[in-house]
Assembly symmetry: C2
Homo-oligomer: 359 residues x 2
């Protein structure tokens, strides 16, 4: 497939999302300014595979790179501070560019470093996972606090997103599952036909063309939403479909037990379950559950304590006045925000757990 | 004098700066939204004087307050993290308001907490020092890194600035000196008549009307600059007149030895000295020096090591490609950015030190 380009208009500037095969090797042609210095932040999984290509593609610019451990635990104040210190020690100035080469963790962490180092330097997202199609668009950057996910962060748009689909073919199945959960979410809030076309996907037989097409669709949906509502006043909240339970599960089980997308997948089923209870409508609960099972998503609540889950849900940034705001579906493509009382939420959690195990 | 209002158009929203006597007691009337929660952050010097007035003025809203030690050492990652933790523990949500009640340190620290807690909540600056007229306008918020001042931060405009001039009359002389240095700087980059009118000020005989007028003028200058160039691409850099040496001195001597403004005052003299050397023009070096002496500004370099000062100057955020960018004056009201080589800088530091002691 040809390289595709999607333009996003952020409040501060416009930027391009480029999706194509092997484009990591053309990194330099996507730099729009004369940068004094390029700093690549990546992780131990990605570095051996793609770092040398990107380093080469930045030549002859002055480049420094930092490789950190892979995993959500680096989205911490400790790593954040270490990276800032490294930036200072390497004399990075305001005309430096930061490249976040990796998945959503690298994008969020490096993006927040870029957002706050010297009150903001330019950065580029180079996502290497399917999941990161979601986080790399829209300028949300953040680190975690022990008391909750993404509680420290900003809105800070990248200068470009360079999405090389070749890098997605070194992902393991767990990561593919994680990424597709967000694609399915985007379909659910936007269009029934897209949703069912995504449900045709069998992870055992995934082609580059299919992945590129799905990512393109997912990013278009996401880009449209964030252009309309960059600062999450309203419409952007719909992107949190599945995240009320998803985030709470991740936090409760400890980051890393489930991948983000695996937690969101369970959260999507839960959102459908609650929607059906609230609106008495018919949504594709069993179709989605079946597809998730076919693709080996872990669909269980791990006997988590429901009061603890409720407490985590109330820590969510989307809440107002301490009551839980949940994204539900009136129908596919018609998301809506609904306030759920603690009592109702506990009831839905119980009935969902029973439904999940097929009672 | 009547309460004055200056409107500032930031890239994200417009906000008002209100300057008047006793207006801390009318805080609630300046809140433009229905906030779920108000969180006041202040320090141990300010709290006994003005906190109860502001608390009372916020009634019947739900209010929480935090009092931290006074001084630059709280602009640290430790205090930043502590405050974020406190925000989470008090269940602050996105429709909470943070009020920064205090000087520039409180404004910068609390402002950066507001900028990054849940990717940004609303905040209001309530400056209680003359110096803070500068930092409270323009949305620059930051904390320090052990390797340099304000290296971690963002651009994040407040919802309002409520400036009660009554609070300025509990300042000690050191703080008045500190604040007036920035006022003089604003005069130097904008207008000769204003500059000389400021030089008529005798701190022994300062009236509320005079202070209110001077702050009003200073804020107008500052507001005009930041409206024109919010993100410091160009014109905003002029506000750094006096700060190349000022920041380096502060960092080298350890924050707190000199107040910020006292360091800037020396920096202003230095900028004039360098300007005269570079442009062979005549600037009011001796007039300013005389006025600073009359008002007991400490005018000495404390035998600091010049190589160390140079190294600190090179850590400045305004630099490009590791060479020092310094704001100079072609004449009063005509600032200009000039790149200074290391060698020249060392020469200017030596000649300045001699000139300062009157050799």
């Amino acid at each position: 497939m040809e390289t595709a380009e999607i333009k996003v208009q952020a409040s501060t500037h416009a930027y391009s999302i480029v999706i194509g095969e092997g484009i990591r090797k053309q990194t330099k042609q996507y730099l729009t300014k004369d940068y004094s210095f390029v700093w690549i932040i990546t992780d131990e999984n990605v570095a051996p595979l793609y770092l040398s290509d990107v380093l080469e593609a930045c030549s002859p610019l002055q480049v420094h790179h930092t490789v950190i451990p892979a995993g959500e635990q680096t989205k911490s104040t400790d790593y954040y501070y270490q990276l800032l210190t490294e930036a200072i020690e390497h004399n990075l100035d305001r005309s430096s560019l930061l490249i976040a080469l990796g998945g959503g963790v690298i994008g969020d962490l490096a993006g927040f470093v870029a957002a706050t180092y010297m009150r903001g330097i330019d950065y580029i997202q180079m996502p290497t996972t399917i999941l990161a199609h979601d986080s790399s668009v829209g300028g949300k950057v953040a680190i975690n606090h022990p008391l909750g996910k993404n509680l420290i962060g900003s809105f800070y748009a990248p200068q470009a997103v360079i999405y090389d689909v070749e890098t997605l073919f070194t992902l393991n199945k767990k990561e593919i599952r994680s990424g597709y959960a967000e694609l399915v979410k985007e379909a659910l809030i936007s269009d029934e036909a897209i949703f069912y076309s995504f449900l045709n996907t069998d992870f055992q037989a995934l082609s580059k063309a299919t992945v590129q097409e799905h990512i393109h669709i997912g990013i278009q949906i996401k880009a449209h939403v964030v252009e309309t509502d960059e600062k999450e006043a309203d419409m952007r909240k719909y992107l949190n479909l599945g995240h009320t339970l998803g985030h709470a599960l991740e936090a409760q089980l400890g980051y890393g037990t489930l991948t983000h997308g695996e937690a969101v997948a369970i959260g999507l089923l839960f959102a459908i379950h609650v929607s059906e209870s609230v609106y008495d409508n018919h949504l594709p609960f069993s179709e989605l559950k079946q597809w998730l099972q076919n693709n080996n998503y872990p669909l269980e609540l791990h006997s988590v304590d429901q009061q603890a889950i409720l407490a985590k849900m109330k820590n969510d940034k989307k809440n107002k006045h301490q009551s839980i705001q949940m994204v539900l579906l009136e129908q596919i493509g018609k998301p809506i925000i609904k306030q759920i009382t603690d009592e109702d939420m506990l009831y839905y959690l119980s009935s969902f757990e029973r439904k999940l195990v097929g009672e």
